[in-house]
Amino acid sequence: MTAAETVPDRGGVEVRLESLRREYGSVVALDGFDLTLSPGELVALLGPSGCGKTTTLRLLAGLEDADGGRVVVDGKDITNVPANKRNMGMVFQAYSLFPHFTVWQNVGFGLRLRGMDKAAQKQRAHEMLELVGLSAQAERYSHQLSGGQQQRVALARALAIQPQVLLLDEPLSALDAKVRAQLRDQIRQIQLEVGITTLFVTHDQEEALAISDRVGVMKDGRLEQLANPTEVYARPATSFVAEFVGLSNRLLGQVHGGHVEVRGVSLPLVDPTTPDGQVTALIRPEAVTIAAHASEESGPLVGSVIAQTFLGATSRVTVDLGDTTIMAQLGTSEAAAYPAGSQVSLKIREDPVLVAEGPAAAVAEGEEPAAG
């Protein structure tokens, strides 16, 4: 009950996860996991299901016990502190509002546990509801709210206790696309306003790239890359990251002298020290454009359009190059000029590309032996 006094002023605290380990029977969910969040930073953990991202968050929340390693928040080791003494605000993937409480009682619950009197609880609850734009719904029950509203109340409830750290466990995944984008931006705005150190877990790369200061891409209980969103997207550290974050064309290429030759085009490498040899180059669809209707019958970058996917402002055009297919992303009005069946020639922009070691490497890593 004294937790309220120990909360420092807003501004965020440092969170350090040191060589965390967690096993479920014979399955190792986390294996020597290290991550440091700077004060006030929002870090998104991104990865496929089963990569250990939720486990990391639950270990930080104290909802699960670590089999090894330390959790340090604001310089204090809290590895063995139970969840209810950790002072962390958490928003869950599943709707978690208490059905027998009204909205404001939900938000005030944490304050009630801290011995705050009812009037003060109510006032603070209303402040928090104002922050998430739901003060008009204070007297309602959770079953009278939409999914997006419920998650906003859950966010208000998590922040009401002035936690040291905010933990978001896929809070948007149950919502429909439009609400998801709105709430995503609202979460970021509130997080910046409150200045709270935040760990955000998601499997949606768009979400992770949109709102975080840094993105940690996880695979098999380890961090593959931890960097700011632009870096993760433009300079993926591993082929897994390149595959998981955004779409990639996989094309055979030949490395020599710091460049990779892909279908007659010489492209710079992200890592110029790559040894010479045959590789799989990972090329983003937006680096591929359609140059023109093809005049010649064949060529390394000539093929016929087999499909168009409308994405809104842009469209993705799939082109059959004979021995492989390649995806190009271009403006929708531009793409309209190349309906399915048209013969086109492509151009690849000279962005630095990442390569997987060889054509066999992709299969060895257990990934899809995709086109290319």
Partner: protein, 288 residues
């Protein structure tokens, strides 16, 4: 919901399309008649014996006369008053003990050791598969041993009754627990600073009221109607007392008035509990 609103919403349109509307109307009428017939048949099946019971209990000493003496003598009939008291006390004790044992156990298993769920379920449902007579054969020596040291009142029957009530109470509570995401609610409360005790008392239990009421009702009804075990262990509860009356057959009217009263009591209890449940619900919805 849609099924309810559709007829009124489409009513004007139906008038314009006479032939199809006619078919629908005929079908709807047929369904309504079918429902009423079913209701009448089952109503008669249940109500005629009840009516006969009450009518018999109100009959006077000579045919054609009426008397309420069978009802007024329920409490003055030798032994019957104490049997009723004991049964009611047993109902309360059994209800409280069953809930006290089962509710925390089930919540704890659900939240902390979910892999034990099947085991608990098996143990709780086991009494269903054991005939009462077998249970008594097993329990009689136990009771005899205890009786050697201390004299036991009929209230000690609650031990057996708790076992008998386990399957019903378990199912009712399990349904309640399944209808809420107990785990997420508990974790949310934990992250807000709640101790495990607070989680159970302030978060889980308030969302299980309906299930707790149902479980209690089933338990209480079971105790009110229990005969075999009390009789075989030589205790006199309500049903045993009624049986004794029926054998002496000096005053069959009391037998039926008491049975009817017991039934009425169960009905009132059922109505009261469902009313409490509904009022909680309405209070929640009133704020829409």
């Amino acid at each position: 919901m849609a099924a309810v609103t559709t007829p009124s919403a489409t009513a004007p349109a139906v008038a314009g399309r006479a032939p199809r509307g006619g078919i629908y109307r005929r079908r709807r009428r047929r369904q309504r008649i079918f429902r009423i017939v079913v209701l009448l048949v089952f109503g008669a099946f249940f109500l005629i014996p009840l009516y006969a019971m009450v009518a018999f209990s109100l009959e006077g000493t000579t045919p054609g006369t009426h008397s309420v003496s069978a009802w007024t003598s329920i409490f003055s009939y030798p032994g019957l008053g104490s049997a009723i008291a004991i049964t009611l006390e047993l109902a309360v004790i059994t209800g409280v003990v069953t809930m006290g044992l089962l509710l925390p156990t089930m919540i704890w298993v659900r939240l902390k050791v979910p892999r034990m769920r099947r085991v608990i379920e098996f143990i709780c449902l086991l009494p269903l598969t054991i005939p009462a007579i077998v249970l008594v054969v097993g329990l009689a020596p136990v009771y005899r041993q205890i009786r050697i040291h201390i004299s036991l009142s009929a209230l000690m029957l609650f031990g057996v009754y708790v076992i008998l009530a386990l399957p019903y109470a378990y199912r009712a509570l399990a349904n309640g627990l399944e209808s809420i995401d107990a785990r997420t609610l508990a974790e949310a409360a934990r992250s807000l600073g709640a101790s495990w005790f607070t989680v159970i008392v302030r978060v889980i239990v308030p969302n299980l009221w309906q299930a707790i009421l149902n479980a209690t009702l089933l338990t209480v009804s079971l105790v009110l109607g229990e005969f075999t075990i009390a009789s075989l262990l030589l205790y006199i509860n309500l049903q045993v007392a009624l049986y004794d009356i029926s054998r002496s057959s000096l005053n069959a009217g009391v037998l039926f008035s008491t049975s009817a009263a017991a039934l009425l009591f169960s009905f009132i209890l059922l109505l009261a509990l469902s009313y409490v449940g509904r009022r909680r619900d309405r209070r929640r919805r009133a704020l829409v």
